[in-house]
């Protein structure tokens, strides 16, 4: 019969040390598309037509048609990057999209010239406190749960960062919500929130929780957590990969900078 302790020891350390050194290893994983407005051609609406969640829209503003892009609705399906005839939509590895203001997920022309450095200057120093998280599935596709469960595997080993999942909302600092909020889960979600002591935070994890994403609306689904609860951190992604989830949790704790502003991603 195997001695599992020895088995584990023989395997060595599997944990990736990120963010305390080490590479961010989501090699190859495609994130949100990058928008190059200078290449975008007026009168063309190909990208908007292939965008299921309506993250890309063409609006008429008196001086002609204009493209609007809301990363809070983007499910990273890559359709726009494959259909844009002008390569204005580019595939990217930008997935660390957590923000504290919803408006920062909406692409803003005026920010085009903002140097990336300015954003990275906003690094706050850690004030290193632990965090207890209560997760609520309010109607997801289980993709987000699968990635959240992965945070406890030896590779990400979330505990090393002082972040823990708790079974009871009474011990929780953070309510981590996934899914569009279905009609049947609304009540349970609010009850869970009300059972939490103050101060408490709410994180909308995944595009469904941010805006309803590809499945929001209809007779059974809401359009995100915001309709029902005050949200502190928005994390679009379909689903956000585990590293993006860690980045979002650390952003809440001011232990890592926000990477996105006005829909622009800072490398």
């Amino acid at each position: 019969m195997p001695v599992w302790t020895l088995y584990g020891l023989r395997r060595g350390v599997a944990t990736n040390p990120w963010p305390d050194g080490g590479q961010v290893t989501q090699r190859g994983v495609q994130g949100m598309p990058r928008f190059h407005s200078e290449q975008c051609k007026e009168g063309c609406r190909v990208c908007a037509d292939v965008c299921l969640p309506g993250a890309i829209r063409i609006i008429e503003n008196g001086r002609g048609e204009r493209l609007t892009l809301d990363y809070g609705k983007c499910v990273a399906c890559q359709m726009c990057t494959e259909f844009c005839p002008e390569d204005a939509m580019e595939k990217s590895g930008d997935w660390a999209f957590a923000v504290s203001k919803r408006a920062d997920l909406i692409w803003d022309e005026a920010l085009t010239s903002l140097p990336a450095q300015e954003l990275t200057q906003k690094i706050h120093t850690a004030f290193g406190r632990s965090l207890h998280v209560r997760h609520v599935d309010a109607g997801s596709c289980n993709g987000c749960e699968s990635e959240l469960q992965a945070l406890n595997n030896p590779y990400y080993n979330l505990h090393r960062l002082g972040i823990f999942f708790t079974p009871s909302p009474r011990f929780a600092d953070l309510l981590l919500v996934m899914g569009t909020v279905t009609y049947a889960m609304k009540e349970a979600l609010l009850e869970t929130y009300n059972a939490m002591p103050e101060p408490r935070w709410v994180m909308a994890m995944g595009t469904c929780a941010v805006s309803g994403g590809a499945v929001g609306g209809g007779y059974a689904c809401g359009r995100g957590v915001e309709e029902f609860l005050p949200v502190d951190i928005y994390v679009p992604g379909c689903p956000p990969n585990p590293t993006a989830m860690i980045q979002a949790l650390l952003l809440l704790l001011n232990r890592t900078p926000q990477r996105v502003q006005g829909g622009h991603f800072a490398d």
């Binding site: 599992w4 090699r27 359709m79 599935d137 109607g139 749960e145 406890n152 030896p154 499945v215």
Partner: protein, 496 residues
């Protein structure tokens, strides 16, 4: 419908034809309804029969405002849930149904009209005020009730399980599901097939590829088109990569419930490594954004995939060997959650669950799709029907998946990966696929402008959740979590 052998019947003929089908060795798989014309719903029953034989399909139109059919649940019990779903979503009653209470829509949900009626286009969520739910009457001294959920301990999907118990023993377990019902089948209405794939990928995250595959194949069947050979091989490889990470997850999760901590860590680490391989070679850890009706959205370079798997394989084999020789783990699995063959058959068990209870069926073998016809697909089977048999089936399938991937990579043809698919207005198609959890069927109906009019999704978790409580009755609390983990169920797929 392309892909099935149809029989059109009047309501009164249904029970007799259904009995004859069953007597001939067929098994019904699902039933659903749709509205070819606003006032004339049609109910469709799909079954399967022998290997390589077409799927039998019974179609029954309800004319002249009729909204009632005889229930077939007494003939084939697995239809019970489908009939209740049709009742909730399409407003058709089934006379003589043994448990006619709502299923998919919770008590207290009040849509203005049946949600799948095409005239129903709600601006916002339907009105809902929670009502007490229908429960079986359980009487006796010392019988207690324990409601658990819908927000459960751990990171789990939402569902509520009500236990009737005496001490440690569970008398009866009554799951209340469909908290996550998102009305997805309605959301397909009016979409182009291209955007339908994006939605299909989001039916169940951990079955993203399988659902998208069944959907694409249904559209291809409707258009009677054939995809390039390279695409069909790529589909096999990707479908098996999905099976691999899922099965490893459940081996790890099973260790979690038997408190074998290192075993859990190792299983979930192997799952992570498989997901990273997915991300690296396809751009998505969940294999999303790859399929399109007609083939693949883009060609994939899989150079180096075999080498990565060859490095991972010995670790997986070693891990499974260690699990199979750990007495404390096996003690908890053996004889836990027994599912007899007959119950599995009658109640509609699917995938590894049915194969662990002695039913040797697998769509990859019985009705080959993509390039599966070119390979020997092993269909492992066990007779014991307990949690251990279910875990052994997963282990066998892991070995078989790796072999399949190697062999598909070796024979991967060159050439194009997609072809134009044009579904004609009014056409219909059936697509199927054996996912990690069992059989998936998608039925698509196109409207007069070539958009999707109705998509029915039969998901394996819907089938297996129906079966699961039969293994819980008369068991005990300590075994419950182990039993549930051994079933490998998802809520998202079941609730849709």
């Amino acid at each position: 419908m392309n892909g099935a052998l149809e029989q059109r019947l009047s309501p009164d003929e249904l029970p007799e034809v259904c009995r004859a089908l069953m007597a001939g060795g067929a098994r019904l798989q699902m039933a659903y309804a749709w509205f070819p014309e606003p006032d004339t719903p049609e109910v469709i029953y799909l079954g399967d029969w022998k290997r390589l034989e077409p799927f039998p399909m019974l179609r029954c139109r309800l004319l002249d405002g009729r909204r009632e059919l005889p229930s077939l649940a007494a003939i084939t019990p697995l239809l019970g849930w489908y009939e209740r779903e049709i009742q909730d979503l399409c407003g058709i009653q089934f006379s003589g149904h043994p448990e006619p209470s709502p299923l998919v829509l919770h008590e207290g949900a009040r849509p203005e009209m049946p949600p799948l009626d095409p005239r129903y286009q709600p601006e916002e969520m339907m009105p809902y005020s929670p009502q007490p739910w229908h429960l079986p009457a359980v009487e006796g001294d010392d019988v207690q009730q324990l409601p658990f959920g819908p927000v459960r301990a751990d990171v789990l999907e939402s569902a509520q399980i009500l236990f009737y118990y005496v001490g440690e023993g569970i008398l009866h377990c009554h799951p209340r599901l469909f908290f996550k019902h998102r009305g997805l089948e309605k959301q397909f209405e009016g979409l182009s097939p291209l955007l339908g794939v994006v939605l299909a990928e989001r039916i169940s995250g951990v079955d993203s590829f399988a659902h998208a595959l069944a959907f694409c194949q249904a559209v291809e069947a409707a258009a009677s088109s054939k995809i390039p050979e390279r695409a069909s091989y790529l589909r096999v490889i990707l479908a098996e990569l999905e099976r691999l990470y899922n099965h490893l997850h459940y081996l790890g999760h099973l260790c979690h419930t038997t408190t074998l901590k290192v075993g859990e860590a190792q299983g979930k680490l192997l799952e992570e490594q498989c997901k990273q391989i997915n991300g690296e070679f396809t751009g998505s850890r969940f294999l999303r954004g790859l399929l399109v009706p007609g083939g693949m959205r883009r060609d994939l370079s899989l150079n180096g995939l075999e080498e990565r798997l060859r490095r991972l394989e010995p670790q997986i084999i070693d891990y499974m060997f260690e699990l199979e020789t750990t007495n404390s783990h096996l003690d908890r699995l053996l004889t836990t959650g027994l599912l007899p063959r007959q119950v599995a058959f009658d109640q509609g068990a699917s995938g590894p669950i049915k194969r662990a209870s002695g039913i040797q069926r697998d769509l990859r073998w019985s009705h080959p799709y993509a390039a599966y016809g070119s390979f020997n697909v092993d269909v492992p089977v066990r007779q014991e029907g307990d949690a251990h048999a279910r875990s052994q089936i997963r282990m066998d399938e892991i070995r078989a998946s790796i072999k399949l991937i190697y062999s598909a990579l070796e024979n991967l043809p060159r050439g194009r990966v997609s072809t134009e698919v044009h579904a004609f207005p009014g056409s219909e198609g059936l697509g199927w696929c054996e996912s990690t959890r069992g059989s998936i069927y998608h039925c698509v109906h196109f409207d007069e402008v070539g958009h999707l009019a109705r998509v029915k999704v039969k998901s394996p978790s819907f089938s297996n959740w129906r079966v699961f409580p039969f293994t819980v009755h008369d068991s005990n609390m300590m075994d419950y979590a182990i039993n549930e983990a051994s079933f490998g169920l998802t809520m998202a797929g079941c609730d849709r």
